[in-house]
Amino acid sequence: MNNREHDLLRLSAVQFSAWELHMYLDTHPNDKLAKERYKKYMAEYEVLLADFEQKYGPVNQTTSKGNAWLSDPWPWDISKECEC
């Protein structure tokens, strides 16, 4: 696993934790503990996302500058290391 894959996995894991809590809160809107956990994961996600975009290029089109949006890899591309 290269650095980009490692950082992407970490970003995705934290994003997933926040997403799971967000969806749980749809049916449990008054669960205070879940809200706290959601906030914690979202704060961590914001930091990891900014770091990832700075190192490897845009994840959101809103943060894309110039032609960076068009640069490889695309999400369905197999990672370089894997190309055997």
Partner: protein, 204 residues
């Protein structure tokens, strides 16, 4: 509106192409219990959902299903790269190849193209939530069947993730149904027709 993120929800990195596996997994792209049907079902049904919790739930699960559609597309794309004509013929992939080459087309494993007949939007909260609960179980069964047919861990890991999401969505829809039935009054104890008729004078 929707905004795209240039990443998958869960990584897909498949070392070995396998057109045989692609032919069964494509059912979760454009088949009867696939991710395209799931996202269209929830993103259509949400407009007639009466309660905030359910509007939120259908929006969120429908959105997540679009991410799953993308993951399945990535799996099909990677399983069908660098194939020789011989491999295409031997694996039985030739029947798909002749119409779509290695493009990713929404179709069931049996060859039936995607149709909106796979889903329903009934405009009744109780009816629609029951369809959603059934849809999650049908998708979970399809993923179980894929796991019975596919050995490669590179393919199984993302499929196992998607299978688990069906179980979580089923749980959330169950809670949504409980919220809906809790809001019905004693005149609607048997959970039928909870929202439409009360806004209109009955003239029959």
């Amino acid at each position: 509106m929707f905004q795209y993120q240039k990443k998958l929800q869960f990584p897909v990195n498949i070392k070995n192409p396998n057109p045989k596996a692609a032919q069964v997994i494509i059912s979760q792209f454009g088949g009867p219990d696939g991710e395209l049907a799931a996202s269209l079902r929830y993103l259509s049904q949400r407009f007639s959902m009466p309660y905030a919790e359910l509007k939120g739930l259908l929006t969120d699960i429908g959105t997540e299903e679009l991410s799953h559609l993308e993951m399945i597309g990535a799996i099909i794309f990677q399983l069908t790269r660098n194939l020789s004509v011989d491999e295409i013929k031997k694996s039985g992939f030739d029947k798909y190849f002749v119409d779509h080459t290695t493009g990713v087309y929404p179709v069931a494993a049996s060859g039936a193209p995607f149709t909106a007949a796979y889903l329903q939007c009934k405009g009744d909260v109780i009816t629609d939530l029951h369809e959603d609960l059934a849809a999650e179980q049908k998708a979970r069964t399809t993923y179980d069947n894929i796991l019975r047919l596919v050995d490669d861990p590179d393919v199984r890991e993302p499929i196992k993730f998607l299978r688990e999401r069906e179980i979580v969505h089923y749980q959330r829809f169950g809670e949504g149904l409980r919220i809906a039935t809790d809001k019905l009054n004693e005149k609607n104890f048997y959970a039928f027709n909870p929202s439409f008729d009360k806004n209109f004078k009955r003239n029959f």
